[in-house]
Symmetry: C2
Subunit: 141 residues, 2 copies
Amino acid sequence: MGPSDIDVTASGLAEPGLAGHPGLPTADIAESCRPVTEILSRIGDKWSILIVMVLSDGPRRFTQIKHTIDGISQRMLTLTLKGLERDGLVTRTVTPTIPPRVDYELTALGHSLREPVNALGRWAFANRPAILKARALFDRT
Amino acid sequence: MGPSDIDVTASGLAEPGLAGHPGLPTADIAESCRPVTEILSRIGDKWSILIVMVLSDGPRRFTQIKHTIDGISQRMLTLTLKGLERDGLVTRTVTPTIPPRVDYELTALGHSLREPVNALGRWAFANRPAILKARALFDRT
DNA sequence: CAGGATCCCGTGAGATACTG
DNA sequence: CAGTATCTCACGGGATCCTG
């Protein structure tokens, strides 16, 4: 999650519409896919999806998340949570007790993300055998 | 402290074949999300989705793809195509003429991937304004 | 407890240059 | 045309130590 923006080219607004109808000028495909790739670079990292999944049951505290997701460093947890908060997917509520308590919770936007992600998850789960098989076959030769 | 102090309701994760059989310890969330993260690391890179989108109209030649996707290096195009081929999402057909001709085409598996990706794309497009707004707000303070 | 500040390393990916 | 082979660098991300 860089400090700066994602947009690379002109400050322009990409035109709507997803790619894929015959007759569509192919040169614009990258342009029309920009929102997708943008989101993918947001949730396509190593931890975002896991955090969203963990939070889908309700609010969780920092260390609670940390212990639920095995292998995540507190650095990456902090950074990823901050990124999710920045994009409005997660809220952060501090209770200034001693020791401090911080709760993270999915926003409505964050919850709505679960649907397409679950769709992808179902695809992944359903086609994993095929992929693994293709992969094994490819690697053998 | 153990996994026992974490409340397990798992209502949200109970997707068919996905995470969360009821009563599943939350510690296994990462485990049950593995297929998703696996796929995400496959298509979550910088170019895979774009290539799949370009190929969704039908077979394309190497340089055709290269010129359609602006900014991709031939190195990354080769590598990404090889990865997609390895996972059974794309076929590679060589016509040994001089100069050689190589066509890439989506497999049925590759085509089926477009549906969940498009779902994600619709989400991305619909919620992009909200995300950008949240981002701008977050960055101002 | 929650998170900042550093240090460090592997690898993702761009820029050429060469080949069948 | 469709790649392979290097060189290079930026950055994602882990480990560790420090603070309010």
